[in-house]
Symmetry: C2
DNA sequence: CCATCTTTGTGCACGCGTTCACAAAGACAT
DNA sequence: ATGTCTTTGTGAACGCGTGCACAAAGATGG
């Protein structure tokens, strides 16, 4: 999972739990696959297996949406696709801007999963003047001087930040000031935003670190003995920390 | 958040809750920034603010690691950096392979956040023969025929999958068979793996869909009235679903 | 129309995670 | 030494999410 949301103490937006909302896209994907195979109905058991969750959870999730589904039969695939799409707001068009067209930004611009779900890349924005006009994924990159105008002209409410960490907070503030109220942040920084703005964070290195934790545990249930009283700052350099570059800017917003 | 882990019913690995483990990298990043500024100590309040969590949670998280920290003063930054690094297993070197060197794979190969945390990109692997030998981020791409040999020669236990969805499960099985026990999956598919293998998923389009849900709620607390009895399969095509491409393969593993 | 069989929808209990609030611990000044 | 002040570490309460297990609902067949 991309790492969790920021702020928002699990606000149950109208009765649909956050945890359920986070799973709806999963169900939608599985249902879309079934739909393409022209499968008319599916039981909670089958769909749960396809989505990788247990069936009781799936049924409870759907119960928050309403009583779609027929006892003894299952769920109508097409109908459920529609209902979930509507609930997620995917029946409307969402113009999105991507700020920071480096390797990652370009990958995002090319990513098919956006367009196929009602998300339209309205503009690519970068601070490098050399990038301006250069097409990426068929869309010409625009300079960040025009950020505010681009947001307003296109009615953008969702922004994707793929800049270096050092630039993220400033970009974020400009996006918010221009009217963006949802941000997907790929920069390895904690963004601070005013109330009413949603931020979701995707942090590649955090995911790897979590895996490393479990990996270490699997590998050395035994070797984890050299514990105890390390003299404060003595140890540390073993093999990690090679290369002063990395994902962290020398200065940090706060 | 990249979306959550698959399987593993919140196994509390030795007393450190999963939720805490997921936040340790966050603390580590904030602490590293402080360390670079040569800040000697930090209070739970300050550090919590920098990491974007509340201070009580941070203190409880640290209490699972042990009683580092001095009452009345705070935490020794260097010492804490070391302790968290050790706990996460970052004091050792983790060779990683990236499979699928498309836009995203290339972006990952270039991503600085990996190298700076003890993760070393041991190899790039792609199924396209035309890619073989071509250097990406200074590392020559190798053909997937040699996947097993690469894994074994380098002692790789962590694999990153950045292939199209259709290829992900097959790649996953080959990785696991070759000895990989932790997988970071960027392909929009549910991977099924044997017990003992950890999978974490990062799904870009899911994150956007969750944002869209909240965005819709913010935008139209009012306009959400056309509800009720939709005739099963009638609606659906409005503006979403343009383009049959996307993140979902026509056939799905299961 | 009745019986049987399948599958949904949900009440309930349990466990994890979060937060509060405070006692204990130590620094620091006098 | 003693007192004050800061900040940690944690017991306890609470709330959310999960999973069990079953009653209700409807399909299907005779």
């Amino acid at each position: 999972m991309a790492t969790g949301r920021t702020h928002r103490p699990a606000t149950r937006s109208r009765g649909i739990p956050e945890a359920t909302v986070a799973r709806l896209p999963l169900y939608l994907r599985a249902l879309t696959a079934l739909s393409e195979r022209s499968v008319p109905t599916v039981s909670s058991e089958e769909l749960a297996a396809a989505a990788g969750v247990n069936s009781a959870k799936l049924r409870k999730d759907f119960s928050y949406l309403g009583s779609y589904g027929t006892r003894g039969v299952g769920y109508d695939v097409e109908y459920l696709v529609y209902q979930i799409s509507r609930e997620l707001g995917l029946t409307q068009d969402w113009p999105v801007v991507i700020v920071g067209i480096g390797n990652l930004g370009a990958a995002l611009a090319n990513y098919g999963g956006f367009a196929s779900r009602g998300f339209r890349v309205a503009a690519l924005i970068d601070a490098d003047p050399a990038m301006a006009g250069k097409p990426v994924a068929g869309i010409p990159v625009q300079h960040s001087d025009d950020l505010e105008k681009i947001i307003q002209d296109n009615g953008v409410s969702i922004g994707v930040i793929a800049t270096p960490a050092g630039a993220a907070q400033a970009v974020c503030e400009r996006l918010v000031a221009a009217g963006v109220t949802s941000i997907l942040n790929f920069a390895p920084t904690v963004l601070s935003v005013p109330d009413g703005v949603d931020v979701r964070k995707v942090d590649l290195s955090i995911e790897l670190q979590i895996l490393a934790f479990h990996e270490q545990r699997k590998a050395g249930e035994v070797a984890a003995a050299s514990d105890g009283g390390v003299p404060a700052a003595a140890a540390r350099n073993e093999s990690a920390d090679q290369g002063p570059d990395g994902d962290m800017p020398a200065v940090m917003p706060a």
